[in-house]
């Protein structure tokens, strides 16, 4: 190989992307050519410099921003009645119930607050298709609200998650604990201004090890 040929393949040589014949030919050339050796060293150094660039860390609210954007887009999509694989469960009945979840101050979610875990005895009473404690909690949560789907807002990270009864009957989830807290009407929060008839009790949950406090505004059309 001459210098021109070697330099055409130097990058691939550094990346070990050449076959053994080409590799050996370049090695042999580098032994006798100081200029090509210098070029190789420069190319290797530039790679090292790129790898040394300080990495960035995503901001803490990145997940919230992503879920907010998703929520916005999903809502728009649902309004246009474009139901894809991820679409919410559509009740067969004529009554459509919407559920909105509010975020409260976390006064009752102090670390010391007892949060009883759902145990296996709860599982025994559940439908056999339910796979985990989380399923039991969420299925019960949605069922008690009389709805099939809901948004849940993580009180700490503000992440919005979509849940629907159909999904959680069939999909396993991580363990969840649950703790009942006073009705929305007796607490400060967005539900306070709502009619008590349309609001079901707020509860606190620990989902994915994150405390959440949720309540529902039930709108019947």
């Amino acid at each position: 190989m001459n210098c021109h040929q070697v330099r055409e393949h130097l990058s691939a040589f550094i990346d070990k992307d050449l076959d053994s014949d080409q590799t050996n030919a370049i090695k042999a050339h580098l032994i006798r050519c100081s200029q090509c050796r210098q070029t190789r060293d420069q190319l290797e150094k530039i790679g090292h410099m790129i790898r040394q660039m300080a990495p960035l860390t995503a901001p803490a609210d990145m997940q919230f921003r992503i879920y907010s954007s998703i929520r916005h887009k999903v809502t728009r999509t649902d309004r246009r009645l474009h139901f894809g694989w991820r679409s919410v469960f559509v009740p067969a009945t004529a009554m459509i119930i919407g559920v909105f979840i509010g975020i409260w101050s976390d006064a009752s979610l102090s670390p010391g607050s007892p949060v009883p875990m759902i145990t296996s005895e709860h599982r025994d009473h559940a439908d056999t298709t339910i796979q985990s404690d989380a399923d039991i909690m969420l299925a019960g949560l949605l069922d008690s609200a009389g709805v099939d789907s809901a948004m849940i807002v993580d009180a700490d990270t503000r992440i919005i998650r979509d849940y629907n009864l159909d999904r959680y009957v069939h999909q396993p989830m991580v363990p969840v604990s649950v703790d009942f807290i006073p009705d929305v009407g007796s607490d400060s929060g967005p539900g306070e201004a709502k009619s008590r008839d349309s609001v079901v009790p707020a509860r606190s949950y620990v989902l994915d090890n994150v405390p959440m406090r949720v309540g529902y505004e039930r709108t019947i059309y």
Partner: protein, 212 residues
């Protein structure tokens, strides 16, 4: 091998789950699959886009858009295929589109100051306490030099360089991400490295001349 293909210990200490498994779980309605992928890749995608466009705020916005697209288009993912190249392809397309948009915008704007826009800002330096102040300055200056040089080379050479050097992808994977033949990746990497060396040498020569 890219970090995305390495086994990942989960936060709760459980056995690692492959990207493909997580994506399949998500396709079946398990939200935690998406969340874990998000946790796994958000920093890497942010860094990749940042190195492509050199604008932290915009890189965050585009990173957000990448994962929104993954969420909204999860049905298009084919189980058994590799998740990371698909993810990076979306990120790469968004970054390249942004660069094209920016280029058009600059062309028509009469009061833009490219020199200011192009300033490199390095933030979030890790392990700052483990190096001396002098080393810190040198490291930062070197990083700024490389970042500025990277920005001077055409994006068609920059993208494969970042994917290779920062993300560790091989030629085949880079070809898949950028949707170009493998041979093109090889020639662009070779040309890109040479251009980067030249850009750095010129920058240093200019700096030396300015100092007298």
């Amino acid at each position: 091998m890219p970090a995305g293909d390495q086994p990942h210990l989960e936060r709760d200490g459980t056995m690692p789950i492959s990207d493909d498994d997580l994506m399949c779980r998500f396709q079946q309605g398990d939200e935690s699959g998406f969340l874990r992928l998000l946790e796994r890749y958000q920093d890497r995608i942010l860094n990749f886009i940042f190195r492509m466009i050199n604008d932290r705020q915009l890189a965050e916005d585009l990173t957000q858009e990448v994962f929104v697209r993954i969420y909204m288009n999860a049905g298009r993912y084919h189980p058994g295929s590799r998740f990371a190249p698909w993810l990076y392809r979306i990120a790469s397309n968004l970054a390249i589109n942004e660069l094209r948009r920016r280029k058009r915008w600059r062309f028509v704007t009469i009061d833009s100051h490219p020199a200011d826009d192009d300033r490199m800002v390095i933030t979030d330096l890790e392990d700052e306490d483990s190096i001396s102040p002098d080393q810190h300055v040198e490291q930062k200056e070197a990083a700024e030099e490389v970042a500025e040089a990277l920005e001077r080379i055409p994006v068609k050479y920059r993208a494969p360089l970042i994917l290779r050097e920062l993300e560790g992808y091989d030629y085949e994977e880079i070809a898949q991400i950028l949707d170009v033949p493998r041979g093109t990746v090889k020639s662009r990497l070779n040309r890109g490295r040479s251009l980067l060396v030249t850009a750095l040498q010129r920058a240093r020569a200019t700096a030396s001349a300015a100092l007298g």
